[in-house]
């Protein structure tokens, strides 16, 4: 299973392999290297990877390595070959989706919401592709380095230094304020749903269980919740029929802040029943060593009665939030993706790009496979400016590229469907 993720070092391995069995590889030819001894250098395991390093285009997106795997499918890094933007693509398999409770409905809702949202701290859905034949959906989003959860797990004591937690929390509050201003209750705020961009900008993601409140509803009353148990407020743990939606997000953000600064959770339990029982009682301790100011904020956010819980507006004005926290040692940075060595989590599409443009093998010309992707993301934001016409202009060079890509796509289709995974 994990095999095809561990590809990294072997950037040139596919070429080496090709050089052995087919004609002369362009790169090694240019380097003037002899191809005979190179065969012996190949680890047999690497031969398996070969198919995975093959360039695969989904629409105009060139796929890179896997970034993560969720219950709906994989998330891969990709390159927009028209704009050269780095992207992340969430691949959703309909077949898998059907097996998950509310799966289809949640994905549909998430897409609908993301399409109308545009904010610095909300993940941007830039395109949406579908492949009817494969029953797959591709959500093209802005690239993020990883989740806060991942960072927390990499941290000693599983927590951030105060200045770092503060940095993320402030951004969370801003994103949340925007969501609420648009009448959206996220309902599943937690470190696992907060991403960081390459510029360390926090992005709220996963609106699968979010709810949009009717624009004409007088208040934010909600009736259902499918969020993560440890982050749920007492009113949900106690199974109340209706509750204030926005205050649910305040509570979960409180648990998130608690977790980021202490490394533990305010409420735990051996199973969900015990956990909900504990949350339902609302008794929790703030560990020693938490400064009074932060304690005060946490207490405000984790108020048992939703009505007494501090409002976003007052969180923004809270002393701990407004304060400038001195930068202390111990900043937690991302570790390389499992199985990779790159500390900086660099761009993984490059080897695929090389394959796309330099690799010419003739042995599998016989495949005839055409993928069909339907985009349904044009003019999605209601206030979007008209698309720049220039993007459609093509010159000779580009159309030549397109030809090439088409050829590659034709080949890669079938191959990619026979992964040994």
């Amino acid at each position: 299973m994990a095999g095809h993720e561990m590809v990294h070092n072997a950037m040139y391995a596919p070429h080496e392999y090709d050089a052995g069995i087919s004609s002369v590889d362009q790169i090694s030819f240019l380097n003037g290297e002899d191809d005979i001894p190179r065969i012996t250098r190949i680890d047999s395991a690497e031969v398996v990877y070969r198919a995975h390093r093959r360039a695969k285009l989904v629409g105009k997106y060139l796929m890179g390595d896997i970034l993560g795997e969720g219950s709906y499918g994989k998330v891969k890094e990709a390159l927009d070959t028209e704009t050269l933007q780095r992207r992340a693509i969430k691949i959703i398999k309909r077949r898998k989706l059907r097996k998950i409770n509310n799966g289809e409905q949640n994905v549909k809702r998430e897409i609908q919401l993301l399409k109308r949202l545009k904010h610095r701290h909300i993940i941007d859905l830039s395109d949406l592709l579908e492949n009817e034949e494969k029953q797959k959906m591709y959500m093209i989003m802005e690239y993020c380095v990883g989740e806060l959860q991942e960072l927390l797990e990499a941290a000693p004591d599983k927590r951030f230094p105060i200045f770092q937690a503060h940095r993320y929390f402030r951004q969370l509050v801003e994103g949340l304020e925007y969501l609420h201003s648009q009448g959206i209750v996220h309902k599943d705020i937690k470190p696992g749903n907060l991403l960081l961009s390459t510029e360390e900008i926090l992005k709220i993601t996963d609106l699968g269980v979010a709810e949009a409140i009717d624009a004409f509803a007088r208040d934010d009353t909600c009736h259902t919740s499918q969020g993560t148990p440890a982050f749920q407020p007492p009113e949900i743990a106690n199974g109340l029929e209706s509750f204030s939606g926005f205050k649910v997000d305040i509570w979960s953000s409180g648990v998130t802040l608690y977790n980021m600064t202490t490394g533990v959770y305010p409420f735990e339990g051996d199973n969900i029943f015990k956990l909900f029982e504990n949350i339902g009682k609302g008794q929790y301790q703030i560990p020693d060593g938490v400064e009074d100011n932060l304690k005060d904020l946490l207490t405000g956010m984790l108020q048992y009665e939703a009505a007494n819980r501090i409002a976003l507006e007052d969180i923004k004005k809270h002393d701990w939030v407004r304060r400038k926290h001195p930068v202390t040692p111990g900043f937690v940075a991302f570790k390389p993706i499992q199985g990779h060595e790159d500390m900086l989590r660099g761009f993984t599409v490059i080897p695929y790009l090389e394959d796309l443009h330099f690799h010419n093998s003739e042995e599998e010309e016989d495949e005839d496979y055409e993928d069909h992707y339907y985009s349904n993301m044009i003019n999605t934001h209601p206030h979007a400016e008209p698309a720049v016409a220039g993007a459609q202009n093509s010159n000779n060079c580009e159309s030549h590229e397109a030809e090439k890509k088409k050829k590659r796509k034709t080949k890669s289709g079938l191959l990619s469907s026979c992964h040994p995974s």
Binding site: G183, K317, H383
Partner: protein, 340 residues
């Protein structure tokens, strides 16, 4: 003492000498030797002050010097003088003023922002900055400082609730495009940045604001009209402005205006108008005058909407909304009067 270059003046000396030079600039006539020298001195001092705040080269600013400098700046009220004399300062000097001003504003001690607190006690600074939009030469410099001020609720509040705020309705329409755009972005920032504050402002000054706003929607200037319409949609659909939205969509005049704009020549304006128009129709508690207008135009509206922007077939959300509106209008009945 630095190893190279001339010995540094203390922050107090710098501010004092800047103040003197500014005084000389005000008194002198352009072209006179003395005045030229004064202008040069102003620029030199500004540049030195900037260096203290931002540090030189790789050097970090020294917090002790920064503290002394800020204190001196507050004590001498030189920020106000700088803003007032901005037209007399040369190009580079103006840029330095902006850099100094914005740096000081961002200055934080714990959770306190001393410059913001200072400006609250010296509000003329804000009003003079706003007035800056009337002078082409300094308008964009003032814009940059104003937007930095907008980030702080206390300052935004002073500006929003001042009579001077209504000058923005003129500034956003001036003929110089870059100034009008700059003014619009400040105007927008004031209205959207601090949600609770602006919700409160819109509610309490509804009549005055929307009377002025009407002017923008009817502007001769296409850009103004379009930007204003777009911002209106954003404001009304923001949950914080619920009360204002309810009030806006209860006024038949507003509905008429949107219906007119739906038929504007520009398709972009039509499209923006659609996003405001839909709120009137979707309202479950339509007051009688609104319902009457919709009923009177029922067939025409259904017909119009059916043909409205049909080329946007890819825009799922738009088409869903359009279909919803058509259905709503078709099902309108005369007895369905408001319950509220």
């Amino acid at each position: 003492m630095p190893l190279f270059g001339k010995s540094q003046k203390s922050p107090q000396e710098l501010v004092r000498s800047l103040k003197e030079a500014l005084g000389a600039v005000v008194k002198g006539q352009a072209g006179e030797k003395k005045a030229d020298k004064a202008t040069e001195d102003v620029s030199k001092n500004l540049s030195a002050i900037k260096t203290i705040l931002y540090g030189a080269g790789d050097q970090e600013p020294q917090s002790e010097l920064v503290a002394q400098l800020s204190q001196e700046i507050y004590n001498t009220h030189i920020l106000l003088t700088l803003v007032q004399q901005l037209p007399r300062i040369d190009f580079e000097g103006r840029k330095d003023v902006v850099a100094i001003f914005n740096n000081l504003l961002r200055r934080q001690i714990g959770s306190r922002t001393p410059t913001v607190e200072y400006i609250v006690t010296k509000q003329e600074i804000l009003f003079d900055l706003m007035k800056g939009y009337e002078n082409q030469e300094i308008a964009l410099n003032c814009g940059m400082m104003l937007r930095e001020c907008c980030r702080y609720e206390a300052l935004a509040k002073i500006m929003l609730f001042s009579p001077e705020f209504y000058s923005f309705f003129d500034y956003v329409e001036v003929s110089t495009f870059d100034i009008a755009s700059d003014a619009f972005s400040t105007f927008k920032e004031l209205l959207v940045k601090h949600k609770m504050l602006s919700a409160d402002f819109l509610e309490n000054n509804y009549e005055k604001v929307f009377t002025s706003y009407q002017r923008l929607l009817n502007s001769e200037n296409y850009v103004t009209r379009r930007q204003a319409l777009k911002l209106l949609g954003e404001l009304l659909l923001d949950r914080h402005n619920f009360t204002t939205m309810t009030r806006y969509i209860s006024n038949p005049e507003n509905l008429k205006l949107m219906m007119t704009m739906l038929r504007e020549k520009s398709r972009n304006i039509q499209f923006e108008a659609f996003h405001v128009f839909k709120v009137f129709v979707a309202n479950p508690n339509k007051p009688k005058p609104i319902l009457d207008i919709l009923l009177r135009n029922k067939d025409k509206l259904v017909d119009f909407l059916t043909k409205f922007h049909t080329e946007r077939s890819d825009d799922e959300q738009f088409n869903d909304e359009k279909a919803y509106l058509i259905k709503q209008i078709k099902e309108l009945k005369a007895d369905e009067t408001s319950t509220s």
